[in-house]
Structures are given as structure tokens and as C-alpha cells.
């Protein structure tokens, strides 16, 4: 440890150990100094004198419920006739006694009211916090037609309450551990006690605890700290905003990782199939769900390979193309100045630009992007003989298909991989394209997410619901995924 770090930790340590004194004045002075009273406009330091004793209240006016404060704290205190303990005066539902200044500070930052009493070495924390957050809204990023519509919101308590509502069981545990130091943020692991695999749970906890960074505010950042291969193209945790999806996974023995300030949660460990499945697949009837899976599988293939295949075939394997199609393609290319590879790359890049702009653009300007994208880049480019119409069709097709991805993280994987394949195809046609595919696949297969092979249960094979490309009839699903080694395997 470096010397300056030693000093810092020593100071932190010292402050942590400070006890609450019997002298109210010194306590008040200390807290007021620590919380920059007078500068912080919303920090309130209020003295209350009742007939029996003197009290002092500290709170952030912005984080508490003022109604409860006046009804359940201030009025009872003012009316207290006898010198009885605070815990018997106040009528708030959650009241805790604290002995150290550190506890008082934590309580204050968490949005509680801290009450000191003259001559008492303990303070009380009344939890009447009222942090403002969005109400529960419709799931925007993972839409379904059939199935529940609610989505997680930026409040942990609300989120846990949604999960608990879906799984009313005493075995559902929401365990909180801390990450970071400045300040330490709680991370909540949600799991089912008698299903979860302890090794995986311990592994996740250990990894969270071993993160050495001053703060992590939400799961989006946490995800990157937790992953084994942060540079990898493949995500190893599922990011979902749907509480029903999270509850489904948790009830299978997976672990959901939640934090305050995130309107989503992480599911770990996850296999590649998790990114391919949409919660709607289960809500839809067997045939419909599998049909939509089939469409999605085709879309994934189109996204990944259609442009690359076009480049490989037109540059190297012309004999494969039926002559009618070949002549059609050749005639459309007759006046195009760019080589095919550049033409495809140019259009793919243009599509990515439209996509990126579409995400960033303020919503009032949204419609313009469609006009610019479709008209200028598509129609005009073709009419100006910059690109051939076939390439526009292919790029639009592959771009469109990439949005059928059931999950946002895998959408990036697909789109970036597509560029790798296009480059590979331009190098040596099918030979290098297939080589790139097989290396890509070998890499994907070799991955694991918290000890679970990425392609299980397909390979290596384990007993499970066999929910890979297609799903079975729900009544035929007998096993929980054994690749997780859950404590209870049998679903019946």
C-alpha cells in the first residue's frame, strides 16, 4: 500500500470509530461540520424543545417524507411530557438505535431522520425516506405483445417488491452486500435459497467484494466489473428490464443482481440461449412461440452472414449463382464505381450511422432520421450510381434483422461480428469466411459464464428443459437446468 493511501484509510478509520457523546452540543457541532450545514441548502438541523427534554433532528429535507416527519416525529416529541426513551415516543414504523457517529452519517445519507437527545449516548434513526423515482412504466426495450407489461424502475425497493409479488415465497432471498467505498453502494442478490448453487453464489459475492473501485452506481457499470472477459464480444450476463423475466430466471436457480438507480437487473450465470430467448416465447402458445424463435434464428443468421456471403460469392464464387440472378446482379453493378467490398462496407457503415443517430436524436426530430436515412442514403445513392440496389436491399435486410434480437447486448455482438465476417469474406472468399466463422464459434463455445459453459445445455450436454433453439411443451419440461447444478433438479 502506498503511503498516501495509508493516510487516507487511517483518517477514514478514525472517523468511523467516533462514538456519540452524551453532550448534545458537541454532537450537533460535529454533524453540522460533517454535513456542511449552511452550505447544503437542504440539510436541516432542527432543535426541538419539549417539556421533558431537548432533542435535535437532522435530515435532508429533500429525501424524507415531510408529512410523516411532522405527524410522527415532531408532534410526538413536542408533546412528550415525561422524559421517556425516544423509541417509546415516536410513532414511525421503522426506528433504530445507533451508537456511533458513523451510523448516524450513514443513516443521514440514506435519507433517514437522525434524532439526538440531550444526555443520551445513543441516537435514533427514523426511516421515513422518500427518494423520488419514476413510477412503474411499460417495458420499453423488451417489448412483448402477450405477457405482463411492467418494467423495473430506478428504485430498488420497488423492484424487489415487484419480484416478491411474482414469487411469494419465504425461500426468495434478497441479500445485500456492499461494493465500493466512496460511498459504498448496496448490491442486492436475489435468489431462491433452496435452488441456487452455492458455488456460483459465493463466486459472485467474492467477485463483487473484490472490486476495488471507489464507487459503482448501477448494474450497467457493475456488469463490466464482474465479467470475466470484459473485452469479449459476447456478454456473459443477461441484462433485462422485465421483472417477470427476472423472476422466471430466479425460479430456475439463476441469480438476479440488482442495484438502486438501475431500471434493469443482471441475470447470472447465463448461456448463449438466454440471449436468444424472449420471455414472450413462454407466454405464447407452443407453436407460436417456436415460430417466433424460428424467425429470430433466421434473422440472426441473416444479420451475421448475408452481407459477408454476398461479398464472398460475388468476388470469389460466381459459379454458385444461378445465371439469371448473376446477370441481374452484374447489370446492376455495371455503373457502380466502387468494388463490392467497399460498396457493402460503405452501406453497412451508413446503416450504423442511421442507427446511432436514431438512438441519440431528440425525439421531436426523430421522424427526420427516417426521411434522411431512407431517401438520401438509399434512393439517392442508388440513383447516383454510388451503390447498387442489391446492396441496399441486403444491408437494409441485415440491419433490420439485427433488431429482432431478443436482447440489447447481443444486438451489439451481432452487429460487430458482421463487420468481422465481411472483412474475412473479402480476404479469401468462402475459405476465410468459413474460417472466421469457425474461429468465432470456437471462441464462443470456449466461453463460460460463472463456470457455466456458454453453449450448455446443448454442448456440453446436461439434463435440462432442452430449451435451446426450440422449446418443448411446458408440461413436458421436467428438469431445471442442471448445468447450474441447482440444489433441486426436478421441477415436479
Amino acid at each position: 500500500m502506498f503511503p498516501w493511501q495509508k493516510q487516507k484509510t487511517a483518517a477514514v478509520q478514525k472517523r468511523k470509530e467516533r462514538k456519540i457523546s452524551r453532550n448534545l452540543k458537541s454532537n450537533v457541532a460535529y454533524i453540522e461540520e460533517q454535513f456542511s450545514y449552511g452550505i447544503n441548502f437542504d440539510f436541516v438541523s432542527q432543535e426541538i424543545v419539549s417539556p421533558a427534554s431537548r432533542y435535535h433532528l437532522f435530515f435532508y429535507s429533500t429525501t424524507i417524507d415531510t408529512q410523516q416527519l411532522s405527524d410522527h416525529i415532531i408532534s410526538p416529541l413536542l408533546e412528550a411530557k415525561k422524559d421517556i426513551p425516544i423509541s417509546r415516543i415516536l410513532t414511525v414504523p421503522s426506528l433504530a438505535s445507533i451508537e456511533s457517529m458513523n451510523g448516524a452519517e450513514k443513516g443521514l445519507t440514506a435519507g433517514s431522520v437522525i434524532i439526538f437527545k440531550e444526555g443520551s449516548p445513543e441516537a435514533f434513526e427514523a426511516n421515513i425516506q422518500d427518494f423520488k423515482h419514476r413510477s412503474i412504466e411499460k417495458a420499453d426495450n423488451e417489448r412483448t405483445v402477450k405477457g405482463p407489461k411492467d418494467s423495473l424502475t430506478e428504485s430498488l425497493t420497488t423492484n424487489i417488491s415487484m419480484i416478491r409479488k411474482k414469487m411469494p415465497s419465504k425461500d426468495l432471498i434478497a441479500e445485500s452486500i456492499e461494493v465500493g467505498v466512496r460511498p459504498a453502494d448496496p448490491v442486492t442478490l436475489v435468489y431462491v435459497r433452496d435452488l441456487v448453487n452455492n458455488d456460483v453464489l459465493e463466486n459472485i459475492k467474492k467477485r463483487i467484494q473484490s472490486i476495488t473501485v471507489d464507487n459503482i452506481r448501477n448494474v450497467e457499470v457493475l456488469e463490466q466489473f464482474l465479467e470475466e472477459r470484459p473485452r469479449s464480444l459476447f456478454p456473459t450476463m443477461l441484462y433485462t428490464e422485465r421483472p417477470d423475466n427476472a423472476a422466471n430466471y430466479v425460479s430456475e436457480g439463476f441469480i438476479a443482481i440488482m442495484m438502486d438507480n438501475s431500471s434493469s437487473c443482471l441475470i447470472a450465470p447465463i448461456t448463449i440461449w438466454g440471449f436468444f430467448h424472449s420471455p414472450e416465447d413462454i407466454y405464447l402458445r407452443w407453436a407460436f412461440g417456436n415460430f417466433s424463435r424460428l424467425i429470430r434464428a433466421v434473422a440472426y443468421l441473416i444479420t451475421l452472414f448475408v452481407s459477408a456471403t454476398y461479398v464472398a460469392i460475388t468476388n470469389y464464387h460466381v459459379q454458385l449463382v444461378p445465371i439469371d440472378l448473376l446477370l441481374a446482379v452484374a447489370s446492376s453493378r455495371e455503373r457502380v464505381p466502387l468494388p463490392i467490398t467497399y460498396e457493402v462496407l460503405l452501406m453497412e457503415l451508413a446503416f450504423e450511422l442511421i442507427r446511432e443517430a436514431g438512438v441519440r436524436i431528440p425525439s421531436p426530430l426523430g421522424p427526420t432520421i427516417g426521411i434522411v436515412g431512407a431517401l438520401i442514403l438509399g434512393q439517392a445513392a442508388v440513383e447516383a450510381n454510388i451503390v447498387s440496389p442489391i446492396v441496399v436491399i441486403l444491408v437494409a435486410l441485415s440491419g433490420l434483422s439485427s433488431f429482432t434480437a431478443a436482447n440489447y447486448s447481443i444486438n451489439h455482438t451481432l452487429r460487430i461480428s458482421r463487420f468481422i465476417f465481411i472483412l474475412a469474406a473479402s480476404l479469401m472468399g468462402a475459405l476465410s469466411l468459413l474460417g472466421a466463422i469457425i474461429i468465432w464459434l470456437a471462441y464462443a463455445v470456449s466461453l463460460n459464464s460463472f463456470g457455466v459453459p456458454y453453449f450448455s445445455p446443448a454442448t456440453p450436454h446436461t439434463k435440462s428443459s432442452d430449451d435451446t433453439y426450440f422449446r418443448k411443451l411446458l408440461k413436458n419440461i421436467k428438469w431445471r437446468p442442471v448445468f447450474l447444478k441447482p440444489k433441486d433438479v426436478d421441477k415436479k
Binding site: 460475388t314 460466381v318 446477370l327
Partner: protein
Amino acid sequence: MKKIIVILFLIFLPALLGGCFDQKELEEQAFVVSIGVDKTDTRGVFRFSFQIANPEVGSSATGTSTKEPAQAVISVLGSDFLTATNAANATVAKEITLNQARVVIISEKLARSKEFIHLMQSAPSTVDLKLNAQLVVSKENAETFIRNNKPRLESRPHKYYQYMLDRAKETGIIPDAPLVRFFQITEGDADLFIAPYATTIRDDETEIGEEDHYKAGEIPVKGESQTQFMGSAVFREGQMISTLTGEENRFCLMFDSTLAQKDILISFNDPLMKEYQVAGRLDINNVKVKVDYKKEKQTTINVFVDFNINIHAIPSTVDYIQSLEKQRILKNSIEKQIKNRGERFINKTQEKFKAEPFYWSLHIRHKFLDIKQYEKADWMNKIYPNAQVRLHFNLEGLEFGKMLRETDIEEVRD
């Protein structure tokens, strides 16, 4: 990591810029749809004609259509397909590729010469040339054939060949003859190979006869298109020896179990009114060839053909439809007529060709254990020419289409 990415990118970039060895842009290539080969006076040198499709014609539904012609024909000299392709590139800016060629046209003169088999030997080792391209023998020079060929209804030349060959094959007047079949049969050295026979020069002297007794060029057609596909050229050991008429070709298809059995339009003499003919569509249900091989004695070949006929024209207006007795007469008559014609043709093959174009050598193979014995028995030279061939035609079903009875013409005239 950054370094690796930079290095990878640097490796990729030149490859992207230059492309690799086999990279060819689409528009840099000229696609040959048919190849014609002619004999020249010099031995071992042939005249190759390449018909190249112009992709710009007939491709776009909208936009300006070009005034360029739909096709270009280039003739060069060369000793095999590959050298000829290279020579042709001297006059064509684009690189000539043969891999879309669907038809190889050989002039009759070349096919009848001994050089033909040497030319064909170079075909399989030409990577570009696909072995499922069709072999066609033209009566005139292949170059003339290609140049005369001006399709009226198809804007793309390859489509023309495709449709033309398909239609002719469906009616049974020409055989299916991909290059690979030429090699299989020629190398097998037991049967005759037949290829479609075509011409663009009309022979004006022929008269109207029975509809299938024509060879290419003899059909009296009036119209702008000169091209005719009719009958077939017969190859023995890689050399053309004779031609078959359309009708004879139908018998080839009928007796050959390896060729697709298509329904055939055919006409017969009306047994009850001799001056009229009956026309119908003949479906072959089943062909069985049984070879009764005896080592020293004469071999007997029994051919069983089961077929259906769907009569669709009875110009004589004899009421076959409602009279079972008349149907029986018709049935017997058809069987007899077809048998006579078949036997005439078999005799011709045995006496004139001294071999058969029906791929019947397949049916004797299982009598032998290994190839040595089989080759020693010598199907082509010893067994078949001396064999006794018995044809058994069996008309299984006679149908009369959608008519319930014939119109009584006498009554109409009233």
C-alpha cells in the same frame, strides 16, 4: 491489445485494397452461355465460338434500357477449351468465364471425325466447364448455328436454350445428354451415346409425313425462328455414326431405364378407319429389361413396357369411348403398331449400328462377379448384335380425356 488490433488492421488493409489472387469483380467477367466447336483443316485445332450474354439487356424493369445487343458471339481457334478461352480474351475486355455455360454445340462434321474424342478429353479437366452442360450436335457449323440462333420471345440467350431443350425433352424428341453421360457411356464402352440433333437451316424438300419421322431441319415450319431441335446423333466409341429421327429417339427414351420417363405425344392409325389417325399422350409406367444370358448360345433380351394412353383426338369420330369392344380393338391395334415400330428400330440398331443406345448393358452386369469377366463377355460386340430381342408392350390403361362421346359429324353436317 491495441497493438494487435493495429497489426491485424494493417494485415487486412492491403488485402482489402488489392483483393486476393482469385478475387474477380462481377462486372469484370463475361459469362458464356453456350460454346460451339467446329472442325478446322488443321488437325488438333478447332474453332471455338463463345456466345456471351450481355447482363445489361433485359435485366432492369425500370430505367433506361441499353441499345447494346443481348449477346455477342466470338470465334477463335484453339486446341482445347482453356486455350480457346484465353485466345478469346484477346478481343473481349472482360474475363471470359465458362462456368455458366449450359450448352456445348458440336458440329456434325467434328462429331463424325476421330478428333472429337480428343477434344472431349480436355473437358473434364477444365475447371470452369461444368459437366452437367448439355451436348448438342448441329447439322451445320456450330458457329453458324449460334449466329443464326435469334430467339424472338426471350430477351436472354441462356433462357432460350434452356426452354428450347426442356420443351423438346418433354415431348421426347431429343434425349437428355449432359457431358457426364457422354463420358460414362463412352468410357463404359458397351452402349451408344445419343445427343440432341439440331439445326438452323431448313431443308425445304421434305414433305409432310407422320409427325415424328423428322430429323432436325426437316420439319416444315413457317415462322421467323429457324432453329429446330429434333432427333438425335448417335455416337459409338466417341464418334458420331448416324442420326435418329424423333420417333426413334422416343423409343430410346422408352427403353432406357436411366432416363426420365416423360409422357410422349404419339399418333397411330385408326384400326377401324384406316385413313385416319388417333393421337394421344403416352405415359410409360414401367420398363423392365430381362437379359437371359447364355455364355455360348444366343442371348435373349425380353423387354416389358407397361404404358397408359390418354387419347385426345379421334378425327375419324369412331365411337371408341362408349364401346368396350371397339376399345379392345383399339388397344390391340395400338400394342401391335407400337411393337412393329419398336421392332423395326431394334433391327436397325442390331444391323446398322451393331450396338444399342438404350444403356441395356446395365441389365447384364449383375450376371458377372467382377469387371474382367464382364468386359470379356463383351456386350457391345458379341452379345447384343447377335441377341434375340423380344418386345412386350402392355397397354394398361386407355383414357379418353374429358369428352364423354364423340360428336357425330354426320349429324352436324345436317
